[in-house]
């Protein structure tokens, strides 16, 4: 299973590949840097809601290709086997070659279908797959299934950023608007290029240093970037982070 997902992850621009089952659990996943199991599981649960709704209009859906300003989300149905439906998700940045991705996704989907149908994978329980870049995580409990409108409310009412799906280790950080949440996600991602998966912890600690209430607003943006840059030992990495942060 991991070798199939690794094939997708080897594509230039792909940051994570995951298989989500009909109950919103990850059946398998591999991710780079900040794309850890907790984040992928939460995104997977959100995407399941999109797929469930989509089926109301188009039961025979095969693929979904969502184009964002900074990346792409590709979904492909894996059909049903072992009493549950599954779909494959690829998270990619803007450098992804769409033609290569289409082929790779089709190949991976065929292999995954065979793996699930052939009983190579325990279909009834989440597979103990893990990030290829970190320590294996235990299979977590079901992710919360809040609707998109609830998410907007969460962002507006200042609920913990960590509860919006960023990390199990990052707790108690509050954001007051979606722009702040998006900035923190991107900033953490950029920082991860220099410091690896610990970037979330660095961001959390930096916000607590800058705001005693652990509340992040865009007014703290410059100070946060400065604080985080100061923690990058390598000068080249530090400059790279500062350049990237300017564009966020």
């Amino acid at each position: 299973m991991d070798s199939i997902l690794q094939g997708l992850l080897d594509l230039s621009g792909v940051n994570a590949a995951l298989v989500v089952d009909g109950s919103g659990h990850l059946a398998a996943f591999l991710g780079k840097a900040v794309y850890d199991r907790a984040l992928c599981e939460q995104a997977g649960a959100t995407l399941l809601k999109a797929v469930d709704s989509l089926q109301l209009q188009q039961e025979d859906w095969e693929t979904v290709a969502a184009q964002f300003t900074d990346g792409k989300l590709l979904l492909r149905s894996l059909g049903a086997s072992g009493g549950t439906t599954r779909f494959l998700v690829v998270v990619a940045d803007a450098t992804l070659n769409p033609s290569f991705a289409t082929v790779a996704l089709r190949v991976a989907a065929n292999k995954l279908k065979k793996a699930f149908e052939g009983g190579g994978v325990a279909a009834a329980s989440p597979v103990a797959s893990q990030s290829g870049f970190g320590t294996p995580y235990p299979a977590p409990a079901a992710a919360p299934r809040s609707g998109p409108s609830e998410s907007a409310a969460v962002a507006n009412t200042g609920v913990s950023w960590s509860k919006m799906g960023s990390s199990v280790t990052l707790t108690g950080i509050t954001v007051n608007d979606p722009a702040s949440a998006t900035f923190l996600s991107r900033c953490t991602k950029e920082l991860a290029r220099a410091v690896g998966p610990m970037s979330k912890v660095y961001v959390q600690e930096a916000i607590r240093r800058l705001s005693p209430e652990a509340t992040y607003t865009m007014a703290l943006r410059a100070k946060l970037v400065e604080d985080l840059a100061a923690q990058i030992e390598d000068g080249t990495d530090r400059d790279q982070f500062l350049r990237a942060a300017e564009k966020l």
Partner: protein, 107 residues
Amino acid sequence: MSALSTIVKLPEVRGAVLGDLTGVFLDAVREKDGESIAAVMGFVASALVQAGEQLGLGTLRRAALCGDARAALLVLDKKHVLTLKVEPAKALPGVEKHVETSIPGQG
């Protein structure tokens, strides 16, 4: 979405529905079930927006939903969601290309 009129004239676009991210129906062309489509696709778009925020992918521009025989293209402009029903499904890339070149911010 001033280019809407030209896009809906494409022969492969069998219908178009304009709604918003809360699922409110605003307008429809060659589509009888506009309210239902606006509601479902508004929710689908909202969930994709949410997933994009979680994954740090930025703002959702559009989403291509493809099946065996038919497809749909969701085009987002601020809070508006335009759903284009495309048949046959293989015409989707052409319609998407048209959207990319004719609607500002979609390229």
